[in-house]
């Protein structure tokens, strides 16, 4: 067995003329939470599907929990839990019944089934709703049930495909707490997401994907420090003014990122000339005024891919 829960090498998947995944390498070390970050169409979901052998590769190799895919996929699936992006619960069944069905599908031994269902209900905070039919649950509860369903057999590895897509911010935070708890319990996690904040908060390491390729790999803070610096100066103004700022920045070799109403000048604490490296230097050096803010993964993403993510 390798030192990683998941290893991908040179993974290529084509759908006709479209190359959805284009030479992807990826490692999920045991016990860590790794994020696949990218916009829709970057190849995240295809990658996730390949890990359960629901997508068969054109090139490359995948090993999951020491099992080579696709040949030994079933062994790997027996030891991992999958939380899909699309809700595929049985909506006419109760919470309990959904879990009962999957305790069989995940081959939980008869003697352990009841305990496994109780445990999963507790983790997902659904014990009180156990008798409710799924179609009476809120979106957040349904997502928690999907997670509970994936935990019945105490998997060593969990795949989360866009776990909080379409949920309210508050519900999203509840789910983050749940995912964070799994991580601290030592479960290895691979999570795809296009929410920057989610990846920043939960992941030990992220792989930024664009057009099927990994464009950057590393811990979120390290990626930010490397590519965007600790702070950005967000300059607001008319489109003409923003154009001028961009031109000025380009002239001096500063990296910028254009959003709707502003230009962010990255590495803003390093572009000045004074020794203390403060943002005020920017004003001194280029006559720019704006809001200082902490840089984030989104800055990194836009810098590396030229695409806005969300």
């Amino acid at each position: 067995m390798t030192g990683s829960a998941i290893t991908l090498r040179g993974v290529v998947k084509r759908f006709g003329a479209l190359t959805a995944v284009d030479g992807l390498d990826l490692d999920v070390p045991f016990g860590s939470c790794v994020g696949l970050l990218g916009p829709n169409g970057a190849g995240k979901s295809t990658t996730m599907k390949a890990l359960t052998a629901q997508v068969i590769l054109d090139e490359g190799e995948i090993e999951v929990l020491g099992h080579r895919l696709p040949g030994d996929s079933k062994q790997a699936r027996a030891q991992m839990g999958v939380v899909p992006q699309l809700d595929n619960l049985d909506t006419s069944l109760t919470v309990d019944q959904n879990l009962l069905v999957f305790s069989h599908l995940y081959r939980v031994p008869k003697a352990d089934r009841k305990g496994a269902i109780e445990r999963a209900l507790g983790l997902a905070n659904l014990t009180e709703r156990r008798a409710s039919k799924v179609d009476q649950l809120s979106g957040g509860m349904r997502r928690r049930l999907l997670i509970a369903r994936a935990l019945l057999h105490e998997p060593r590895l969990i795949l989360l495909d866009e776990p909080t897509v379409g949920l309210d911010p508050q519900v999203r935070q509840e789910l983050w707490a749940l995912i964070d708890k799994l991580r601290s319990d030592g479960v290895s996690i691979l999570m795809s997401t296009h929410y920057i904040e989610e990846a920043e908060r939960l992941c030990d390491e992220v792989t930024i994907m664009s057009h099927g390729k990994a464009v950057a790999v590393g811990a979120p803070r390290a990626l930010i420090a490397e590519h965007a610096g600790p702070e950005a100066l967000e300059v607001y103004g008319s489109p003409t003014r923003l154009g001028e700022v961009e031109a000025l920045a380009a002239e001096r070799g500063w990296r910028t990122r254009r959003t709707g109403t502003s230009v962010a000048v990255l590495h803003s604490n390093q572009v000045g000339s004074r020794e203390d490296g403060g943002v005020s230097d920017l004003g001194d050096a280029a006559g720019l005024e704006g809001e200082r803010r902490i840089t984030n993964l989104e800055d990194v993403f836009v810098l590396l891919t030229g695409e806005e993510i969300s």
């Binding site: 599907k49 062994q75 027996a78 899909p84 049985d90 909506t91 599908l105 081959r107 031994p109």
Partner: protein
């Protein structure tokens, strides 16, 4: 940690645990919709039975050497097999992969497409074995005499039901939309259902229709059921049985092959 990590042996094909898991899902779901399912699978054939039994039965008393109620009361088993085998297989399969994404969830668990399809077909076959007898039992109220041979009927219906379930899953796997089912229904299943020797004997028909009837699995089901109830006929019935087994095997493999194409990209 964990329950599953203990199992490091290589998992094989068509494992009992996987088949059971898929069938448990069906069973639990069935507990919530068995009324409508039982209704649609048994009431339709019963209406055909009564309509033909009273309508036709008032014109003819004997058909092919049988009282008409005996003739149609046994033949109707094949109709029920079609209604409770092929149609649910087509619709529920399509709905499960296209709308409910149920198969995505199942295939993310340690279950392969082959096991998924096999378990679904076995489950439908088991249901069909029971539903198949209902209109025949209704016919006993109208003069069909009970016989020991009727005890074979659930098994014949289940065997034929397995083939139709596989065929229905195959149709669903090939279908681009649920509308395309009407081509199969009107173009293939309805003619088969009528030309199966259920309501009228095939030997009065032109030769070409008789030949078509002989490649119709429903015809072999009708013959086998009728002979089981009124007396088996040796080699001929072994031939009918062999035909149904072959039909089951072929449609089972077809269903697996096309579902794999559909589900594994």
């Amino acid at each position: 940690m964990g329950v599953a990590t203990a199992t490091q042996r290589r998992l094989g094909r068509l494992e009992g645990a996987a088949l059971r898991g898929v069938m448990v899902r069906e069973l639990v779901n069935y507990s919530s919709f068995w009324r409508s399912s039982t209704f649609s699978s048994t009431v339709d054939p019963t209406i055909y039975l009564l309509a033909f039994g009273f309508g036709f039965g008032s014109l003819v008393s004997q058909v092919a050497g049988y009282d008409y109620i005996d003739f149609v009361g046994t033949g109707i088993v094949a109709t029920t097999v079609l209604f409770s085998g092929a149609f649910p297989a087509m619709y529920s399969t399509f709905v499960k992969y296209e709308f409910q994404h149920t198969y995505d969830a199942i295939l993310a668990a340690p279950v392969d497409t082959e096991e998924l399809v096999t378990a679904e077909a076995l489950w439908i076959a088991a249901r069909t074995g029971i539903y198949g007898c209902v209109p025949m039992l209704v016919a006993t109220l109208f003069g069909l005499d009970p016989s020991w041979g009727m005890l074979l009927v659930p098994f014949i219906a289940a065997l034929a039901g397995f083939g139709w379930a596989g065929f229905g899953i195959f149709i669903a796997a090939k279908a681009k939309s649920i509308e395309s089912f009407s081509y199969w229904q009107s173009g293939l299943l309805t003619p088969m259902f009528l030309v199966a020797g259920t309501f009228f004997p095939l030997d009065q028909l032109p030769t070409w229709a008789q030949i078509l009837g002989n490649v119709n699995p429903l015809f072999h089901c009708v013959e086998l059921v009728r002979h089981a109830v009124f007396g088996l006929e040796g080699w001929g019935d072994i031939g009918h049985l062999a035909f149904l087994i072959a039909f089951g095997l072929i449609s089972w493999r077809l269903a697996i092959r096309y579902m794999e194409r559909r589900l594994i990209k």
